[in-house]
């Protein structure tokens, strides 16, 4: 639903026809909004820790109590006389308890536990996976209150995140479009505009691949002891597409140092990566021939056949849809920076140049 809602968001934001100057004016508000999101994550972390950790601790305590009692019975006070006869039921319970404890990473005999599931860093990471709809499942609320809070938290958090990330994506689109303008001027005489759009998308994909997949994969491989590069790449892919299977989780090794900070950075990576995926999707949707769903959602009068699109492109719009006129106007005042338009008979005319 995250990606689907983003599709909807893209449509909605497209309708607004934003100009760069409007975006600049409201940058401070976006920063504030991002602060709100951080605060929202902190709230989630605190609340989940408050709700779930005591339950987890209580369970641990039960296990410990029983183990201590049994050890007292079996092992006694150090002498053989202190032992009592124990029933087979008691013994069964002990074995079962040891199994449960081992399943939860607790070692009742050694007083060493694994990191609690609901430490602050873990809860922060968990909140991040909620609002990004990744949802690994390696930890999940077990109390009814926790489940109820999850529902409420998501109903507010997911649209909030999507709105903020969409605003970010709108701003990220500006340098992306600037780059496409450069590509158009440089390559406009070699390729038709549609191909330049595809090239632009390809360049963007390459950039994303390197900075959002390969680089983080290298980092994860070096931090996680038993992850290969493929494991890390697989993890990045599964997370950034918000699938979130949960078979690989960063920072869950028992000997992990600075676990809380690591988890926080992982959360930030998730959200930034989601933002970049949305940018990629938005760029893809701008290409009419790739935006097949728009093709089917808009009625026949608008996109009845791609002949119309061909006509649009041939008519000399240099690959920009109507809504990007303003970006062209904004970035290239007609007198200063002439754009080239191929005309029908192949002659190039410069806007604003004297005839």
């Amino acid at each position: 639903m995250g990606l689907e809602m983003f599709q909807l968001q893209t449509k909605l934001v497209d309708q607004l026809h934003l100009a760069p100057f409007q975006l600049k004016e409201t940058n401070m508000r976006l920063l504030f909004g991002l602060g709100v999101m951080l605060f929202y994550l902190l709230i989630g972390a605190v609340v989940f820790t408050t709700i779930e950790a005591p339950y987890e601790t209580a369970d641990d305590k039960n296990i410990r109590d029983f183990t201590d009692k049994y050890r007292a019975l079996v092992v006694g006070d150090g002498s053989d006389e202190g032992c009592q006869r124990i029933s087979s039921e008691d013994f069964d319970t002990l074995i079962r308890t040891i199994s449960e404890a081992a399943l939860r990473g607790i070692s009742p005999l050694k007083n060493v536990t694994a990191e609690p599931n609901w430490s602050f860093g873990q809860a922060f990471f968990f909140s991040g996976t909620l609002i990004s709809t990744v949802g690994y499942g390696h930890v999940s609320p077990v109390t009814h209150a926790g489940k109820f809070f999850t529902i409420v938290y998501c109903m507010i958090g997911i649209p909030l995140t999507l709105a903020l990330l969409s605003a970010l994506v709108e701003r990220l689109k500006l340098p992306s479009l600037w780059f496409r303008g450069k590509m158009n001027t440089a390559l406009g005489h070699l390729f038709p505009p549609g191909h330049i759009q595809l090239l632009h998308l390809g360049a963007l994909s390459l950039l994303l691949l390197v900075f959002m997949f390969i680089l983080p994969s290298i980092i994860f491989t070096s931090i996680e002891p038993d992850w290969t590069f493929l494991d890390a790449f697989y993890y990045c892919f599964i997370s950034l597409t918000t699938i979130g299977l949960g078979d690989y989780i960063p920072g869950d090794q028992p000997e992990q140092q600075f676990r809380a900070a690591y988890k926080v950075f992982a959360t930030v990576y998730l959200l930034i990566g989601l933002c970049c995926m949305m940018l990629f999707l938005a760029t893809m949707y701008d290409i009419p021939m790739l935006n097949l769903s728009r093709f089917f959602l808009v009625k026949d009068g608008n996109f009845a056949d791609t002949n119309d699109n061909e006509r649009l492109r041939l008519s000399g719009q240099a690959g920009f849809g109507p809504k990007y006129e303003k970006h062209v106007d904004e970035d290239s005042p007609a007198s200063a920076n002439p754009q080239s338009f191929p005309t029908d008979d192949g002659y190039y005319q410069n806007m604003g140049s004297p005839h």
């Binding site: 639903m1 995250g2 990606l3 689907e4 809602m5 599709q7 909807l8 909605l12 309708q15 607004l16 026809h17 934003l18 100009a19 409201t26 940058n27 976006l30 504030f32 092992v75 087979s88 074995i95 079962r96 199994s99 081992a102 005999l109 996976t129 709809t133 690994y136 499942g137 009814h144 489940k147 109820f148 999850t150 998501c154 997911i158 605003a167 790449f233 697989y234 599964i238 597409t241 979130g244 299977l245 949960g246 078979d247 097949l292 769903s293 089917f296 959602l297 608008n302 791609t306 002949n307 006509r311 008519s315 000399g316 109507p322 006129e325 303003k326 106007d329 007609a334 005309t343 005839h355």
Partner: protein, 448 residues
């Protein structure tokens, strides 16, 4: 050379509708486009190559509603078998190892019990017992970590069913819908690479499918809503509209038709601004109103700015109704799954919500405890169906809510900083000409 020189084009003329472009400068490209559209009115269009045309027709058919449905089903089922095959070899070995380990642990447990019992009165009881228990604890930890031991003896049929057909189909469904339960995951390197490729193709396919089916369902619901709920209002509107049309015929030359029409169209309780309706009205003078508009008289618009639409877009299902539909579906899932799996109803609602929002923890999966049995298979299958249908319902709801949500997002956007003020030039109430420009090729550019 005069022969090659193009006649000068005056780019400084304002755009033909008299309105400056968004930034206040004349819209050059728009003018250029309009001139070209005029010149190329049908005749000068280069002929489409036949191969390209055939491919387009084929693509259109392929992506028609039914075609898309079948494609998605084939993709999901095919993917299930693909992953079963990829994981099968390694899986057999793993199953054997797991079964073996499970048996070992059971044996060790019995032995430990026996030892402790027999040793009750033996020498060095304390240290021996402590050592034995610690040893057992280490073994069980290793079994859990490396062999997925769950503390109870495991049945071979259960393990085999992990990658059974129903389970694999649920897996592929959760991949392409980005839910991602993780109840089974590929452990082979090839399996992981395949998941990446499979998702790269499958997720956009699923998004497209959901958009398509959501649109179809939304249209259906709009029509049903229009026919059903507005029936009582038809008579009243008929009278009012007839009056408006009579007025309109009087003021034929008045180009501002918009203000005379709006109040007579069925509209949702939420949005009442004419600008909102204008935004999405197609100006298509050729098509007449269709069946849902049969109460509106046949007005032949001479002025292309006439805002009669072709029908079902006019009927706006209120947001409250769509929210009720979503909530109803979530509760349906809650009741069904909590009854089936012996969960509490809030756990069922939690499961439905987490699934439909595509978060997908995977901590609760209907039928997973009984995987391998017929009941388990049925439950897994129904879960997959519930997911797909639920996402389609969500898509339909988004579609229905879109009109209303534009207003809401504008409000939110103003609060968050996406847009500043709707009354600025070029704000949302000012965007209509972009839409209109494309769709009015017949407007005479002389008329500026």
């Amino acid at each position: 050379m005069p022969a090659l020189h193009q006649p000068p084009v005056d780019h400084r003329r304002p755009s033909f509708n008299g309105r400056p472009s968004f930034t206040g400068r004349p819209s050059f490209t728009g003018l250029h486009f309009q001139r070209k559209a005029m010149d190329n009115d049908g005749s000068a269009q280069p002929p489409q190559p036949t191969k390209g045309r055939f491919l387009k027709v084929l693509a259109k058919y392929l992506f028609s509603h039914v075609g898309l449905c079948l494609l998605v089903i084939a993709y999901v089922v095919g993917g299930a078998y693909l992953f079963r095959h990829l994981e099968a070899d390694g899986e057999e070995q793993r199953i054997q190892a797991q079964v073996q380990k499970s048996t070992e642990m059971e044996t060790e447990r019995e032995e430990l019990a026996q030892l402790l019992w027999n040793y009750k009165n033996g020498p060095d009881y304390n240290s021996t017992v402590a050592l034995l228990i610690e040893q057992y604890h280490e073994n069980i930890t290793e079994a859990i970590r490396d062999f997925s031991y769950t503390g109870v003896p495991v049945k071979r049929s259960e393990l085999e069913a992990k990658w059974g057909v129903a389970s694999a189909i649920l897996f592929t469904v959760t991949i392409v819908t980005t839910i991602g339960y993780g109840h089974v995951t590929p452990v082979t390197a090839l399996g992981q690479l395949t998941v990446i490729g499979y998702a790269l193709l499958g997720v956009p396919l699923m998004l497209m499918f959901l958009a398509n089916i959501g649109d179809a369902m939304a249209r259906f619901l709009r029509i049903a809503y229009g026919k059903g709920c507005c029936y009582c209002c038809h008579k009243k509107r008929e009278r009012e509209y007839a009056k408006a049309i009579a007025e309109q015929r009087q003021n034929k030359m008045d180009t501002d038709l918009v203000s005379s029409i709006p109040n007579n169209r069925p509209r949702s309780a939420w949005s009442d601004e004419a600008a909102m309706d204008i935004r999405h009205r197609k100006v298509d003078a050729e098509k007449g109103p269709d069946g849902t508009m049969d109460t509106l008289p046949q007005v032949i618009p001479e002025d292309p700015i006439q805002m009669i639409d072709t029908g079902d877009e006019i009927i706006n299902v209120p947001i409250s109704l769509t929210l009720v539909i979503i909530a109803a579906y979530v509760f349906l899932g809650a009741i069904l799954f909590s009854a089936w799996n012996d969960w509490s109803w809030i756990t069922g609602a939690y499961f439905s919500f987490v699934t439909l929002s595509t978060i997908g923890f995977g901590d609760l999966i209907p039928g997973w405890k009984e995987v391998g049995t017929t009941a388990g298979t049925i439950k897994l299958g129904v879960s997959a169906l519930y997911i797909v249908l639920g996402l389609a319902v969500l898509s339909m709801s988004f579609n229905l809510m879109m009109e209303e949500m534009i207003a809401k997002f504008e409000w939110l956007g103003r609060k968050l900083g996406i847009i500043d003020d709707p009354n600025l030039p070029g704000g949302p109430t000012d965007i209509q000409p972009f839409v209109a420009q494309e769709q009015m090729p017949s407007v005479d550019p002389v008329r500026m």
